[in-house]
């Protein structure tokens, strides 16, 4: 009887046995389609949306007229980008030519006028688009550095002490929303009044722009650092107390590493704000970067103006995105939670 019972239970299994080897294949297929779907959504979706964007743009460009022709379409902008790129290398070639000639002249001059000095002449061609990008990057990093050097220590102090936080807080709240366009005139006046060394390291426009970037970008870092320090796990502070670590050691070994993820989130935000502010600051301060480029193109009002400004818009956007990724990478390298925030 029991034997039969066993048999009957075994029977269906034996019948369904041919199904079993199919199972893994089904799994594999599922996994394949799953991966394919993920790939499509990760890569395909942005590609499709980008294509739609380009199409819509070209359609609008064809139909909207402005007082000097039509809005440039994607192709015209791309073309303008290539021109700016080529101009850069043409300018570089001209510069090399100039220095080659200069060296020849110098040799001739020194041969005919021994004992005299040949004047030191620098090439004075206009800055190209790539030069302007470099200037912008230098400016934003200088400003960001100044801002961070103020914001991180101030944030740590605010986070450690309720009293200091209360003292700082009104200033943070009042100055945080101030536009770079309001800071810039003040900064420019102060810079031209106070910064007059005989051999200046920096241009005044550069310094004004950088300081304005610093003034506007330090707030996210300050607030995030203060938050990160204030929300440190009490257990970690207890460890510091049991070990009787000194103030410096406690701050350096325990408070700072624990707040690092927050600090980096703040730095990322700050760099983003700084990059956004920079363009406006450069326009007004006439710092030879991307902002000035946009302003100059706007002023000269040729038929290429819009296309050139659009090249600048994409450049600004792509560089901003790259800067953000750079900060994320840095955060992953240095903070213990691997940049989860």
């Amino acid at each position: 009887m029991t034997h039969e019972a066993v048999n009957t239970t075994v029977q269906p299994v034996a019948e369904s046995a041919p199904v079993v080897p199919q199972k893994p294949r089904k799994h594999a297929e599922l996994r394949m389609t799953d991966a394919l779907r993920r790939l499509l959504s990760n890569m395909g979706a942005p590609l499709v949306s980008f294509a739609i964007f380009l199409f819509a743009w070209s359609q609008i460009a064809e139909h909207v007229k402005v007082n000097f022709g039509s809005i440039p379409g994607p192709l015209a902008v791309w073309h303008q980008g290539v021109i700016l790129w080529d101009e850069h290398w043409a300018e570089r070639a001209k510069e090399a030519e100039f220095y080659k000639d200069l060296a020849k002249h110098r040799a001739e001059f020194l041969a005919t006028h021994p004992g005299q000095t040949f004047p030191d002449i620098k090439y004075s061609g206009p800055p190209t688009y790539l030069d302007q990008i470099c200037t912008s990057l230098e400016t934003v990093f200088t400003g960001f550095l100044i801002g961070s050097l103020i914001a991180v220590p101030a944030g740590i102090l605010c986070g450690l002490s309720r009293t200091i936080h209360n003292a700082f807080n009104p200033f943070i709240q009042i100055f945080k929303p101030v536009s770079p366009l309001a800071w810039l005139p003040i900064v420019m006046i102060l810079v031209s009044a106070l910064y007059n060394p005989p051999h200046p390291w920096f241009e005044k426009a550069f310094l004004s722009s950088a300081i304005t970037v610093a003034m506007c970008s330090l707030w996210p870092t300050l607030i995030n650092t203060a938050l990160g320090v204030a929300s440190i796990d009490k257990d970690y502070l207890n460890v510091a107390r049991v070990l009787k670590l000194g103030w410096w050691k406690k701050t350096w070994r325990i408070v700072l590493p624990s707040a690092l993820p927050y600090i980096f989130t703040g730095l990322r935000l700050s760099l983003g704000v700084g990059w956004m502010v920079l363009i406006a600051a450069e326009m007004l301060a006439q710092n030879p970067g991307l902002g000035k480029f946009v302003w100059d193109m706007f002023q000269n009002g040729s038929s290429d103006t819009l296309a050139q400004i659009m090249v600048a818009v994409f450049t600004i956007g792509i560089i901003g995105f790259a800067l953000d990724r750079l900060m994320l990478l840095l955060q992953r390298l240095v903070s213990y939670d691997g940049g989860k925030i």
Partner: protein, 305 residues
């Protein structure tokens, strides 16, 4: 003379009026080299007691003396093993312990510090995990790092705050044996807080029950005169073990019985909108909805003594 002495210590939290007294009239004497276990319910104020001895918080009443002098703050003479390990997640096992060694012996040469740290990593059998971060370790391993860190400070007294309560039974048993072994090797003074009477009886020289809070206080200490080494399997058949255990549990349950047992729990109900159809409509589609249970949010269930 007692090495650690608590006289009539009391501690409460909160402001006047809404103040809860956690500990009241705590008297405790620990001799040098003694292993004392304090057993109590969760929430009875055990962690408060260990924090007081560690100097992390100050007592409201009474005095705490260590080696004859008042405890005013934390000190390197007391190594603490925290309930939740308190390892720094950005440092490896080695660096976590090194931080403690550096704090206690700043003038040692680097080589000596390194050797010292490695000695204690080996003591808790963690040499293979030397360079791992706490996040890569299991709960039991983390707790061992925590123990090693406290021991590496070479404190005169070791304070263990429910060191094993977060661990599964097997890991717990292994670590109990390890703590027992380490203690028998260097005979430090140990105060261990636990919620498990068996653990206390297995490890300690003396076990003291803590009554249920609020206003918890220590009961009569019970000397554990069971010879060492104690084997956890054989221990179950030792009549004296059963006797001590019954005594401890009876004290704790009796103190709990004197309390009014109450449970308050949060109500989480599906957030649907029921409608009372018997109530007449006021206007189009609007009825007074009945009060839902999850709007009350909290429910109190009380059990009389």
């Amino acid at each position: 003379m007692a090495y650690l002495e608590l006289k009539n210590v009391g501690k409460g939290y909160g402001v006047n009026g809404r103040r809860t007294e956690v500990l009241r009239g705590i008297n405790l004497e620990v001799k040098n080299g003694e292993f004392v276990a304090i057993v109590g319910f969760s929430g009875a104020g055990k962690t408060t007691l260990i924090s007081l001895i560690a100097g992390l918080i100050q007592a409201d009443a009474g005095s705490l003396l260590l080696n004859g002098s008042e405890i005013t703050g934390p000190g390197r003479d007391r190594g603490v093993v925290f309930q939740n390990y308190s390892l720094l997640p950005w440092l490896s096992v080695f660096e976590n312990i090194l931080l403690a060694v550096e704090a206690v012996n700043p003038n040692w040469p680097a080589e000596k510090k390194k050797e010292h740290v490695e000695k204690f990593i080996a003591l808790v059998n963690l040499t293979p995990a030397r360079d791992k971060r706490p996040a890569e370790l299991s709960g039991g391993m983390r707790q061992r790092v925590s123990v090693a860190r406290a021991l590496a400070m070479d404190p005169e007294i070791l304070l263990l705050d429910e060191p094993l309560s977060a661990l599964d039974a097997l890991t717990r048993a292994t670590l109990q044996d390890e703590i027992s072994r380490i203690w028998q090797e260097d005979k430090k003074t140990v105060v261990m807080i636990t919620n498990d009477p068996d653990e206390g009886i297995l490890l300690a020289d003396r076990i003291i029950p803590l009554s249920a809070g609020p206003s918890a206080t220590l009961g009569q200490p019970i000397e554990i005169d069971i010879p060492r080494p104690r084997d956890r399997k054989e221990l179950n058949h030792v009549p004296r073990f059963k006797e001590i255990r019954r005594e401890v549990i009876e004290f704790m349950l009796h103190s709990k019985g004197a309390q009014h047992a109450a449970v308050s729990k949060k109500l989480v109900l599906p957030d649907i909108q029921p409608e009372d159809l018997s109530v007449p409509r006021i206007s189009m589609g609007a009825r007074h909805p009945p009060v839902r249970r999850n709007e009350i949010k909290e429910e109190n269930v009380e059990v009389g003594p």
